[in-house]
């Protein structure tokens, strides 16, 4: 019997090794959300990010300019301000009295640089050079001077990982700024699309899309993109709305983290409400 096993091991050692290693990797995949593993990942990724950050700063040695950084920050703040004013102008036409109640948003921006891009056609991720030490938390939105870029999905002390808009795992609740129609924006690997919008809903080419108040992860009124195409599905009942983001995610280098985390109390209330309805 022992001889048989020894022979089996000798003959199939490559296959046995493969199976064992694949099982280990599957096991690791299954425990990614374990707090201990998350902490371990954050430490190791944060440590290595110092190295990539150094390489990045060497490659960008001629590009560092504090004045440019200041102007970029100002641009981003103005972009958010303009979008807010645009909202106010639209609301002003209908709800003049309610305008003051709405105008309470203030954004706290933190400048950051992309030090590494892990991009593929369907999974865009960045590593940026600000982390929990700077007040960055998981769930904070990331923008540039043009609009929404992504969302923080992991933080180390000095670095954070960002899931970009060009990642099929990121679905964003958005709203049409003009008509107020809500939908879910997702990346299909080639384009950004809001699926399953009834054809009777008012969504026109050229309408601006921004983050929705109903989003559980993002603050409202961050510009996302513009409607470039409307496609009706075979049944004729639903439309696919194609959106071109304002931010060029592939080319982005300088970003801002919006220090905003959705109020957990609202989430708790929503969850409780859903439980009651069920």
């Amino acid at each position: 019997m022992q001889k048989f096993f020894r022979k089996l091991l000798a003959n199939f050692k490559e296959y046995i090794t493969l199976v064992v290693l694949l099982l280990i990797s599957l096991f690791l995949l299954s425990i990614n959300n374990n707090p201990g593993i998350e902490r371990f990942r954050a430490i190791s990724f944060g440590t290595f990010a110092y190295v990539t950050s150094t390489v990045h700063s060497i490659t960008n040695i001629f590009k560092s300019d504090t004045e440019t950084a200041r102007l970029r920050l100002e641009n981003a703040e103005l972009m958010l301000e303009v979008n807010k004013l645009r909202n106010h102008a639209l609301q002003n036409e209908h709800l003049r009295k309610m305008l003051e109640m709405k105008d309470t948003l203030a954004y706290n921006l933190l400048a950051a640089d992309v030090i590494s891009k892990l991009t593929s056609k369907i999974e865009g991720n960045f590593i940026i050079n600000v982390g929990s030490k700077h007040g960055v938390e998981v769930g904070m939105p990331v923008i540039n001077e043009q609009g929404l870029v992504g969302l923080i999905i992991g933080t180390a002390a000095d670095f954070s990982s960002v899931r970009t808009l060009e990642n099929i795992s990121l679905n964003v609740a958005v709203t049409n700024q003009r008509s107020g129609i809500n939908g879910i924006l997702s990346w299909n690997g080639q384009r950004h699309v809001i699926k399953n919008i009834p054809t009777t809903f008012d969504m026109q080419i050229g309408d601006r899309i921004e983050t929705s108040e109903f989003s559980t992860i993002l603050p409202p009124a961050i510009p996302v993109g513009i409607i470039v195409e409307k496609e009706t599905e075979v049944s004729g009942l639903l439309s696919f709305i194609y959106v071109k983001p304002f931010a060029n995610v592939q080319a982005v280098k300088n970003l801002f983290v919006v220090r905003f985390v959705k109020n957990t109390q609202i989430d708790t209330l929503e969850t409780n409400l859903l439980k009651r309805i069920k």
Binding site: R41, T119, K121, I127, Q190
Partner: protein, 161 residues
């Protein structure tokens, strides 16, 4: 431990830095070459399937760890990629396998398998299987094999270790 293994490991660190910090600069419409796969195929063709498979798991694990990726994702795909490359290992044909054409074809196959299995664990409901094969796997594999061919051409006497 063989001296070559330590050399390979020492090469892996700068390769990883290049992969994370500089390779995105040469991306063509999202497609980037995978230098880790090229190194892995070179190692497997030199040292054999068993050693290659273990190296695939180890390098994949380290890549996941240092890139902030899901832990186990690259470990899984690179283990299978190295195992596949190992089928081409033959002690008497190492020189032939390191020839530009053969090497780039093996790199292409391994990179394709690596990207494909890497994509399987992502939420691919919104991307079809054809998209997965072409956009996610085929084009990056072609790019990786071209870079692999360039590396093997540029190596002095076709050997760096």
């Amino acid at each position: 431990m063989k001296k070559e293994y330590i050399n390979y490991f020492l090469i892996f660190i700068p390769t990883l830095i290049l992969q994370l910090a500089l390779v995105p600069l040469i991306s063509i419409d999202h497609f980037t070459p995978d230098l880790i796969v090229i190194l892995l195929v070179y190692f497997t063709l030199s040292e054999g399937q068993l050693h290659g498979t273990i190296a695939g798991a180890l390098l994949g694990f380290l890549f996941d760890l240092f890139s902030g990726n899901l832990l186990g994702l690259s470990m899984f795909s690179k283990t299978i990629a190295a195992f596949t490359a190992g089928y081409f290992y033959n002690e008497n044909k190492i020189e032939a396998n390191m020839a530009v054409m053969n090497f780039s074809l093996i790199v292409f196959l391994s990179a394709f398998i690596d990207s494909f299995f890497n994509g399987i664990f992502t939420d691919n409901q919104s991307v079809g299987i054809v998209f997965m094969i072409f956009e996610k796997s085929l084009f990056p594999a072609i790019y990786t094999s071209v870079v692999g061919a360039l590396i093997i051409i540029s190596l002095p006497k076709r050997k760096f270790l």
